[in-house]
Each structure stands twice: as structure tokens, then as C-alpha cells.
């Protein structure tokens, strides 16, 4: 069964139809790459999945559970949305790390706040906080940031910041981790280190949706590629086919630019 199913996602800003009936589904452990020119709606799609935007139409299901149904606006209180969006993680183009916290604190903050709401938090406080710290250390190790735990974001390079942001998203153990052009804000020589950790996550079967302009990376890491243009999915399929022999003229034109 698909871990994620999105059906007929539509989103309009003012008079612009930004998403026009997007359907997608994703198997557990798969990596989906989304490519497309600027303004085609890629970011908006990720924002809809993460409940930062509310689609005007459509249904979003994770593990068979309906998280969002535009026809049925019940269960969209702030508290309910909060719980639902934990199925997803989102890594931003501009990192959005919390500047007043160290790398470790950035990774731990949200989990600590969630843990404090558990009924057994008072009695097991030490143990729980210990676990959270252990997990954060492990994640930063995994990101190659063992020596950077106590640095503040402004003391880190863009590539290091983005890796902290990835660790921060992983700390909440999302079912599906979304990336919105994770290397677009980086100097070219720093993109490699970020793409490398994403590749490692793919090898560990993390389910991911990656919006990217790095075509060779998309081709290399994705199990499935979607090409979007003007709010619709123009073409999708196996990366070898979409990149190697695109069927649609629009896809061909787009790929020519890379």
C-alpha cells in the first residue's frame, strides 16, 4: 500500500491557479523527485503536504489515514493539524534554523516540547531528556557534524546549516521527509556535502520527496520523477525514462536547459 496518496490537489492564490489537480502516490522507502521551472507550483505542493497551505480541493492520505479532505473541514483545529503534520518533515531552501540555538538545541527543541506533553514526562524526565540528547547527537554524527554540536547557525557554513536542518527534521521521525530545493541557496562547492547526506538517507530507505534543480542528482537518487509545469504534472515515471527519453515536448524543452 502506498504510504502517501494525494488526489486532485488544487490550490488557487487570488486568481492564479497554482496547482491544478495534482495526483501523486508514493511507496514506503521510495524517493520522489519533483522538477519543473520556476513558478510551476513545486513549493506550493510541498507546503500543502505540510499544512502550511490549505488546498482548495483534494485529499491527502498517509498510511491509509485521511489527513486532509477539502470536502470535510472537520478535524482541522490547530491541535489536530499539529498532530497530522508530524507525518511530514520539511527542509527549506533557506534552512530556517533558529539563530539563538546551537546545532544541538535546534535539533532537540521540538522533541523536547512534544515530550513535555507526555503524561509520564514528570516521572521520567531525566530519562526522556537523555534519550532526546542521545538521538540528537547521533543525528548530527550522521550528518558529519560531530564537532559542530555547540555552534550557533551563524558560525556554520550554508552546507552545515542545511545539514543541521535535515537533522532537525529527522529528529521527529517523519514518515515522509520533503526537501524544497535544499541546495539552491548554497555556493556550488557546498552542494555536494548536502546531496551526499540526502543520498545516504535514500540508501537507508527514508521516504522522501525532493524538489530540486540538480538534474543529475534527481536522476541518480530518485525512484520516480515528476515534471511539473504551470500547476500540472506534465510527465512522470522512472528517472531513466523521463531524463533519457522524455515523451512530452515541454519536458524536452525544460531538460534542454540543463
Amino acid at each position: 500500500m502506498a504510504i502517501l496518496e494525494a488526489e486532485n490537489i488544487c490550490k488557487t492564490f487570488g486568481r492564479t491557479d497554482v496547482l491544478k489537480s495534482i495526483d501523486l502516490s508514493l511507496e514506503k522507502g521510495q524517493v520522489l523527485s519533483v522538477i519543473g521551472s520556476s513558478g510551476s507550483g513545486k513549493t506550493t505542493l510541498l507546503r500543502c503536504l505540510n499544512f502550511l497551505e490549505r488546498p482548495d480541493k483534494g485529499v491527502i492520505r498517509v498510511n491509509g489515514e485521511t489527513l486532509f479532505d477539502a470536502e470535510d473541514p472537520s478535524g482541522l483545529s490547530e491541535a489536530a493539524i499539529r498532530r497530522k503534520r508530524l507525518h511530514f518533515g520539511l527542509v527549506f531552501q533557506s534552512f530556517n534554523l533558529f539563530p539563538q540555538y546551537t546545532a544541538m538545541e535546534n535539533v532537540m527543541l521540538a522533541r523536547k516540547l512534544l515530550a513535555a506533553e507526555q503524561p509520564d514526562f514528570k516521572t521520567r524526565k531525566k530519562e526522556i531528556l537523555g534519550e532526546i540528547e542521545e538521538q540528537a547527537k547521533k543525528l548530527l554524527d550522521q550528518m558529519g557534524l560531530t564537532n559542530r554540536r555547540d555552534n550557533y547557525p551563524h558560525q556554520l557554513s550554508g552546507g552545515q546549516c542545511q545539514r543541521v536542518a535535515i537533522a532537525r527534521a529527522l529528529a521527529l521521525q517523519p514518515d515522509i521527509l520533503c526537501f524544497d530545493e535544499p541546495t539552491s541557496a548554497l555556493d556550488p562547492e557546498l552542494t555536494g556535502e548536502v546531496l551526499k547526506v540526502i543520498k545516504e538517507l535514500a540508501d537507508q530507505n527514508m521516504t522522501m520527496i525532493i524538489v530540486t534543480h540538480e538534474m543529475s542528482f534527481a536522476r541518480d537518487v530518485a525512484d520516480h520523477v515528476i515534471f511539473m509545469d504551470d500547476g500540472v504534472i506534465v510527465e512522470q515515471g522512472d528517472p531513466r525514462e523521463v531524463f533519457g527519453s522524455p515523451k512530452e515536448e515541454r519536458t524536452r524543452q525544460f531538460l534542454l536547459r540543463y
Partner: protein, 228 residues
């Protein structure tokens, strides 16, 4: 010289009394303008257009006219035009009127500083918090507040230093603050007249006061220097 030494205790005593009034006006202004400024800031950021427009208009008028005029109008208007001298007579009444004018004036300046601080935190901070399952209030207290304070402290420090010197304007409605006290020895007071040196002493009081404040505020800024 020996005459100055003789007069010194009298002058210092008078200056201290005046300085106390200056200090009181300074503190009362801050105490009132800090919260009122926040209220005005929220008013000007309100999604309810009429409220935000009216608030912005008031701020524009207050910031666009001299505090001295505002002082005079606030002090004299109730008695002369409304026939209702709400401030009462004497030094207490003048202090009340001066505080009111200063609080309103400074609250308008502060509101713009608050607004800059609040709106200066990038939207990505809130979105990052939301995506991590934080509530709006957790995001405010744990993520945004300190970033706002960091943005607010430097311009606020400038305003606070300016306020120290602005308190002298209250002299226009004869509030007996420190300049009033220092100047009195020119015309004659406590049997001393034609003495200019008390004014130098008065200036010294301001320098010390501002020096201390600059140091304290600088320390606060430094405390927030650990992040960017």
C-alpha cells in the same frame, strides 16, 4: 573660588532635588511608554483597516510635531479651552501633564521600534516551528521573542538616551527638573545669583546619567550578541 566652595552645598542640594524630578519623569515615561507603545504597535499592525489607519495617523502626527508643542497643548488645553484644569495646580499637576505628554510621545516612537522588531523576524521562523509540530505560542515564546528583542534593543537604546535629554523640555511648563534648578542660580535663588557654574554641574549630571545608561544598555546588547 572659596565663594563657590561655600555655595556648593546649597547648589548641589538644589540640583539633587531637580535631578530627582528629572529621574522621576524619565522612569515614569519609560514605564508608561513601554506597554503603551506595544499596544499602539499592535494597533498599527491590525488587520482591521480602520484601526490600523487611525493608529498610523496618530503616530504620524505625534512623530511629526515637536514634543515641546505637545507639552504646551496637553498642559494648557484642558484649563484654557475646556475650562476644566484637570492637571490641578502646582508641581504635582505639572508633573502629571508632563508625564502624559512624554508617555504619548515616546509610546509612538517605541511603537515603530516594536513594529520593526516584530515584523523583522522572517516568516520562515514561524513556518519552521509549525512544521516541527510547535504551537503558535511555543513558537512565539521559544523562537521569535528573543529575535524580536535583539532587533528592538539597539534602536530602543538610542531612544532612551534621547529621552534623558528630552526631559529638559518639561521646563517649558515650569516643571522643576534639574535645568530649572541649575538656571535658578542665574536669576537668584537661595541667596545666590549670577552664577553660571551650577549649569556646568547640571551638564555633568546628564553626562554621568547617560554614561551609566549607555554602559548598561551596551551590556544588554552584548548579551544578545551570541547569535545573529
Amino acid at each position: 573660588m572659596s565663594l563657590i566652595l561655600e555655595q556648593m552645598p546649597v547648589v548641589i542640594g538644589a540640583l539633587n532635588t531637580g535631578f530627582l524630578q528629572t529621574l522621576k519623569l524619565f522612569l515614569v515615561t519609560l514605564l508608561g511608554a513601554f506597554p503603551l507603545g506595544l499596544v499602539i504597535a499592535f494597533g498599527s499592525m491590525s488587520a482591521f483597516r480602520p484601526l490600523s489607519l487611525v493608529t498610523k495617523l496618530v503616530v504620524w502626527v505625534v512623530r511629526g510635531t515637536p514634543l515641546m508643542i505637545q507639552l504646551l497643548i496637553i498642559y494648557y488645553f484642558p484649563g484654557l479651552v475646556l475650562d476644566n484644569p484637570i492637571w490641578g495646580g502646582g508641581e504635582a499637576g505639572r508633573f502629571l501633564a508632563a508625564s502624559t505628554a512624554f508617555i504619548i510621545n515616546y509610546a509612538c516612537y517605541f511603537s515603530e521600534i516594536y513594529r520593526g522588531g516584530i515584523q523583522g523576524v522572517p516568516a520562515g521562523q514561524e513556518e519552521a516551528g509549525l512544521v516541527l509540530g510547535m504551537t503558535k505560542s511555543q513558537i512565539f515564546w521559544r523562537v521569535k521573542l528573543l529575535q524580536m528583542i535583539k532587533r528592538i534593543v539597539p534602536p530602543m537604546s538610542n531612544e532612551i538616551i534621547t529621552l534623558v535629554k528630552d526631559t529638559a523640555l518639561a521646563r517649558i511648563i515650569a516643571l522643576q527638573e534639574i535645568i530649572f534648578a541649575g538656571q535658578s542660580f542665574l536669576k537668584g535663588s537661595h541667596g545666590i545669583s549670577g552664577a553660571i557654574w551650577p549649569l556646568f554641574f547640571t551638564a555633568f549630571y546628564y553626562l554621568v546619567f547617560n554614561g551609566v545608561l549607555t554602559l548598561l544598555l551596551g551590556q544588554l546588547e552584548k548579551k544578545l550578541d551570541y547569535f545573529r
